[in-house]
Amino acid sequence: MESVILDQLKRDRILDLLKEDKRIDGRALDEQRPLSIETGVIPKANGSARIKLGNTQVITGVKIQPDKPFPDLGDKGILICTAEILPLADPRVEPGPPTEEVIELARVVDRGIRETEMIDLRQLVLKEGKSVIGLFIDSSVIDSDGNLFDACSYASVTAILSCTVPKYELKDDVPVLVEGVTSKPPLKTIPVSVTMARIGNYIVVDPTSEEEACMDARITITTNSEGNICALQKGGSDGFTVDQLVRCSEIALSVGTKIRKRFEQLM
């Protein structure tokens, strides 16, 4: 808020480049930043991944442990995705309870995995209504340079793809770990989110924090392995035209297909 004039100058500069189909870091409008994926980075977790999307960096760990099912959802295992921006990731973040931005981030990541039905939660039941397997997928942003939605989503999805599910059996209704027996998680599809920013009339894929600071609006669209659209979240303080929304869905499908191939190599 302090440097309104500088922000305006930066926006002018970014818009001038966009008119020539260029971005401030040299990318094409529909080009993501380099994506690096490492899995197994937290051996004590059941699954884990470190994602670098340009300078944005996220670490996700998956913990799998027996739990009680939610009421009315006794025939399903538990899936909870969280996200946190660590204060070391960004000078603007302060320790404390989650802001509305972080709550939105976590819920969008969660829905992207939940609504696509990536994991067949019905296969994670030990005893219906009593005892199920819970997957806790916690993402920590450790370096924050824009597009935390995709970075956290990719880290969560790849941590799940790389995880092993320990075996539990009920003894006297108490879940007991069966040592040494694990399985792959029951997967149905691979969701891929693609986040785009609208700056003026231009749609840019995978915005940096510089681009986010001067964007008009934001959209995150998640597609599944079957080429369908399964989750969407518009954000930011302005809107989109219908044409832009259709264009965004096409970009999400085409960029998503490329990313999904990278993910499939992990399986």
Partner: protein, 238 residues
């Protein structure tokens, strides 16, 4: 498991696929708020109140260059089947944020630097589509408060139920249907300012669903206009 649609395309509450639920909207229902509105949208019963432009507390949140908009979407403990804890849930905080971002393009905030406009929405009874209904009431309450606006904001969901794209998803359809897509439109400007999707759509269905929702928003807009007219031009004169 409810049967969500008959073979003749009649939905579980008797509507056709392109039919809105009953909507009633009343402007200026509160005395203390600067602007207010009460909406019944299907079984949703929602009240919206607006205060401002006014001083910002805490002061460090004020912006020298523009007014700011704050929104709070809150559900009463008795609004849902199982009594709800009155503390705001993460879902309510997220909806507060997307509602704020849906209203923001319509409100001319630059005219009121260092101030805040507060929009408070209370869901007294919840049904499917409560965030859209909340937005519809909030936009009208902003107008009732005399806040300068570029346009109204009109919201309505569409979705996929029993393999068909339907307008204005109700509670049963939301829970057992295939997709729910709430949408908010600035009807004269033609901008979509809220859009979410939960559920699975083919690219073709996505487009149909979006256009269906926009059609609903436009019909809601007429109801919003009429409600404002009733308060401000009751006797037919301009």
């Amino acid at each position: 498991m409810t049967q969500l649609m008959t073979e003749d395309g009649i939905r579980c509450d008797g509507r056709r696929v392109d039919e809105l639920r009953d909507i009633s909207l009343k402007v200026g229902v509160l005395k203390k708020a600067n602007g207010s509105a009460y909406i019944e949208f299907g079984k949703n019963k929602i009240i919206a109140g607006v205060f401002g432009p006014r001083d910002v507390h805490p002061k460090h949140m004020a912006n020298q260059d523009t007014g700011i908009l704050r929104c709070r979407y809150h559900m009463s403990p008795f609004s849902v089947t199982e009594r709800k804890n009155p503390a705001p849930s993460r879902r309510e905080i997220e909806i507060s944020k997307v509602i704020k971002e849906a209203l923001q393009p319509a409100v001319i905030l630059k005219d009121f630097p260092r101030t805040v406009i507060d929009v408070f929405v209370e869901v007294l009874q919840a049904d499917g589509g409560s965030r859209c209904a909340a937005l519809d009431a909030a936009a009208v309450a902003l107008a009732d408060a005399g806040i300068p606006m570029r346009d109204l904001v009109s919201a309505c969901a569409a979705g996929k139920v029993a393999d068909r794209i339907v307008l204005d998803v109700n509670n049963e359809e939301d829970q057992e249907g295939q997709a729910d897509m709430p949408v908010a439109l600035m009807p004269n400007v033609g901008k979509i300012t809220l859009m979410q999707l939960d559920g699975i759509l083919t690219p073709e269905e996505y487009k149909t669903c979006l256009h269906t929702a926009i059609g609903g928003c436009k019909r809601v807009y007429e109801i919003q206009r009429k409600a404002l007219m009733e308060k401000y031009f009751q006797n037919g004169e301009q």
